[in-house]
């Protein structure tokens, strides 16, 4: 069993969990993910790693309550345990000294961008992080990102903090300052990553995105996570999750995310129903 050793609520419906998984923590690198399963009836859920502590043997994940399984995970407390916790999975980020790099994290995407920013900074890069959220109260991991970056720019949709607008507006501000940006990492909702790569394509700045499609096994066995990159089918679980964003077919990827929308709604409704009948 893989116990939750620490839990912290980052915002309404967003939980950070430190999970005891020493063998995974010993090997994981920035950019990789784990697959968790709460109990016998649960789905296998892929989650990109937010942090790891090789000495304590923990992996940190951040989960937002958006569906049936994520509601169960965000409801877990210290002492609770995952039945299964597999990893590290996927290929690690290509960390080297590029010069100046931008790390863009949108919404929950700030969590997986965190270890990448830190590793890039440790490798000698000037790391400018652009963090986006709908509003200031939904902005997560600001302190952690400040520590992992050389500079931080914040963008909120409602303007309650930082630049008013999207992460692309934050990025525009960075570029306007005249930085010679060599590479960009962008992680967040598909629609955000698409907006970023559409913007950077004409600028010719290499932009890496981290894809989070539907997965089952996470080892290349089922092909559920296939995406199209440069007109070639790739499995995000073993070929990625990071890809050259300028080559990713985001329209296809977004359609594929909706594969089980009806079933997800059904499961979520049932969960809420059970709660009403139960302890509410």
């Amino acid at each position: 069993m893989y116990h939750v050793v620490k839990k912290r609520l980052l915002a309404t419906g967003i939980a950070l969990l430190d999970v005891n998984a020493p063998a995974v923590a010993a090997k994981v690198e920035p950019g990789q993910f784990v697959i968790v399963r709460v109990d016998e009836q649960s789905e296998r859920i892929p989650l990109t790693v937010m942090d790891f502590d090789r000495e304590k043997g923990t992996i940190t994940i951040v989960v937002q309550d958006v569906g049936y399984s994520s509601a169960i995970i965000t409801g877990m407390n210290e002492g609770d345990a995952f039945q299964d916790f597999v990893g590290p999975l996927g290929v690690e980020s290509e960390i080297e000294n590029y010069g100046t790099v931008v790390c863009i994290g949108g919404g929950l995407g700030i969590a997986p961008i965190h270890p990448i920013a830190r590793a890039l900074k440790d490798a000698g890069n000037h790391v400018i992080s652009v963090l986006g959220a709908r509003s200031a109260d939904l902005l997560i991991l600001e302190d952690e990102m400040a520590a992992a970056s050389s500079e931080v720019v914040i963008a909120t949709n409602d303007g309650s903090k930082g630049v008013k607008g999207f992460v692309t507006d934050g990025l525009a501000e960075v570029l306007a300052q005249g930085h010679q940006v060599k590479a960009i990492w962008a992680i967040g909702p598909m629609i955000m990553m698409k907006a970023v790569v559409d913007y950077t394509r004409s600028l010719g700045i290499k932009t890496i995105v981290s894809m989070n499609p539907i997965m089952v096994d996470g080892t290349g066995m089922c092909g559920a996570c296939r995406i199209s990159v440069g007109n070639e089918t790739k499995f995000a679980c073993v070929d990625g999750p990071e890809f050259d964003g300028h080559l990713v077919d985001f329209d296809l990827a977004m359609k594929r995310l909706a594969f089980y929308k009806d079933e997800e709604n059904r499961a979520k409704a049932r969960l809420e129903c059970n709660h009403e009948g139960g302890h509410h």
Binding site: Q41, D217, T219, A258, E263
Partner: protein
């Protein structure tokens, strides 16, 4: 002479059928199709065996089960002992009694089969193994420990068979499994209605009582590597990672919603119990019309699963003719009885989608048979201008699997062939790396459970020899 009279009499006794659920009933449930022999039928069937002095059946069995010996025990009514005899050579008899292609193996060699019908060896194996399972009595005396440790990568048929034989030889065995449960294709691939998962797990529990340690959630190539295992005190490693990489057809529309690899479709249904959604949280989705591309056992499993998940029309789409279909005869018959529709000499060329990205129809070409090709089968030739559309909601691609590269690419010095399969010595199954052995689908390409088990046993013998020489 007496023996000849005896055998003439026995030839005349017909082989006993095994009762099954009625097709129209079973096509809508996930319960096991075949129900197994009663004790009376098993004894009657066992009595048909001639007890040949030089049994040919054994030579047809990849794991050399002591066939006449166990059948004799069944005929005597000593079912417990029959099960014990099975276990001498076979670590998973209740599995093999269900999924082996006996008609091409042991039963094809049976003398009774020359003039009549062979002994139903598979059905008797199933009966005896199930009896042993019910009583829970398993005869196993732990051998003296050899002091050697072996790591096995993959808890599928090859790895489990290898583990069983190594444990019997006194070696300390640790099996590393990537998924959250041991069993490999027996758990994720073969459906519940053909091989109940409870049976697989009981067989695996048996291996554990023999001292085999099984660690799940261990993706070798990521959390550890073959080299690390060797450095960390294992004296030998066996790689039995199977054929875990689905092939697609490379036709337009394969990334539409509604298109599955057979691996995904079966994994969602079997391993994740998607057929019990929403009690189990993993969904699996079939529409009204389902096409399964391919005609092997995996294709039949997929088609019959689709039917049980509620599809109205399930088609097998195959470009050759019935004679060339690679699935077992019994599986083809079961599928057809249940209402699976075969569209033969038909090959899909494109999957058409709607504006939301969902499968709408399948475009196919008609084929005719030409001269024999390299495989010896008559080559299918497309008929020009014969394109036609079939309305479709779900497409399952079941055209085969390749070797999963996670272990092979993380093991420097491991010789592979051009298809990415591991090259192993045919006698010992040792790879190009000393002390590292491999067997099953990762060596041969996708084949059967029993061939993988045979390879696992062979590797166990090779490993045992290697360890004795160390």
């Amino acid at each position: 002479m007496a023996e000849n009279v005896e055998s003439t009499k026995k030839v005349k006794i017909p082989r006993h059928e095994m009762p099954c659920q009625e097709p129209e009933v079973r096509a809508r449930n996930f319960e096991e199709v075949a129900l197994g022999y009663t004790e009376e039928t098993a004894v009657e069937e066992a009595k048909r065996c001639l007890q040949c002095k030089k049994p040919k059946c054994v030579s047809g069995c990849p794991v050399e089960v002591l066939i006449p010996e166990f059948i004799k025990k069944v005929a005597e009514g000593d079912f417990q002992e029959a099960g014990n005899v099975l276990k001498i050579k076979n670590s998973l008899p209740a599995v093999c009694g269900r999924v082996c292609p006996q008609e091409n193996q042991c039963e094809s060699k049976c003398i009774l089969g020359i003039k009549g019908e062979s002994v139903a060896i598979g059905r008797l194996e199933r009966f005896a193994a199930d009896f042993g399972m019910k009583t829970g009595k398993s005869q196993f005396e732990k051998p003296a420990p050899s002091g050697k440790r072996v790591a096995i990568i993959g808890a599928g048929p090859a790895g489990l068979a290898c583990a069983g034989d190594l444990a019997k030889a006194g070696h300390a065995v640790t099996v590393l499994e990537a998924l959250h449960v041991a069993g490999g294709v027996l758990m994720y691939g073969i459906p519940q209605f053909r091989l109940p998962k409870e049976i697989v797990q009981t067989e695996i529990e048996n291996l554990k009582t023999m001292g085999v340690e099984i660690l799940t959630n261990q993706v070798v190539g990521k959390i550890t590597s073959v080299d690390e295992l060797m450095e960390n005190g294992y004296d030998a490693v066996f790689i039995g990672t199977g054929a875990g990489l689905p092939y697609f057809m490379d036709i337009p529309g394969e990334n539409l919603n509604g298109v599955y690899s057979a691996n995904e479709f079966l994994t969602r249904t079997n391993l994740m119990k998607g057929y019990k959604f929403p009690d189990y949280a993993t969904p699996v989705k079939v529409g009204k019309n389902v096409a399964v591309l391919g005609a092997g056992n995996v294709a039949m499993d997929s088609a019959r699963t689709a039917l049980r998940l509620g599809a109205e029309n399930v088609y097998i789409i195959y470009r050759r003719s019935r004679d060339e279909m690679p699935a077992r005869k019994e599986e083809l018959e079961h599928a057809e009885e249940e209402g699976i529709q075969f569209r033969l000499l038909t090959n899909p060329v494109a999957i058409e989608g709607d504006e939301r990205g969902w499968v709408k129809s399948l475009t196919c070409l008609r084929y005719e048979l030409g001269e024999p090709d390299a495989s010896g089968r008559r080559a299918p030739i497309a008929i020009k201008g014969s394109e036609f559309d079939i309305p479709m909601d779900t497409v399952v691609v079941a055209i085969g699997q390749g070797p999963n590269p996670l272990v092979t690419t993380s093991t420097p010095g491991l010789e592979l062939n051009k298809r990415g399969n591991i090259v192993a010595d045919p006698e010992t199954l040792m790879t190009s790396k000393p002390g590292v052995f491999a067997g099953g689908d990762i060596v041969t390409g996708a084949a059967t459970v029993i061939l993988a088990m045979g390879a696992g046993k062979k590797a166990a013998a090779g490993i045992d020899q290697y360890l004795k020489g160390k």
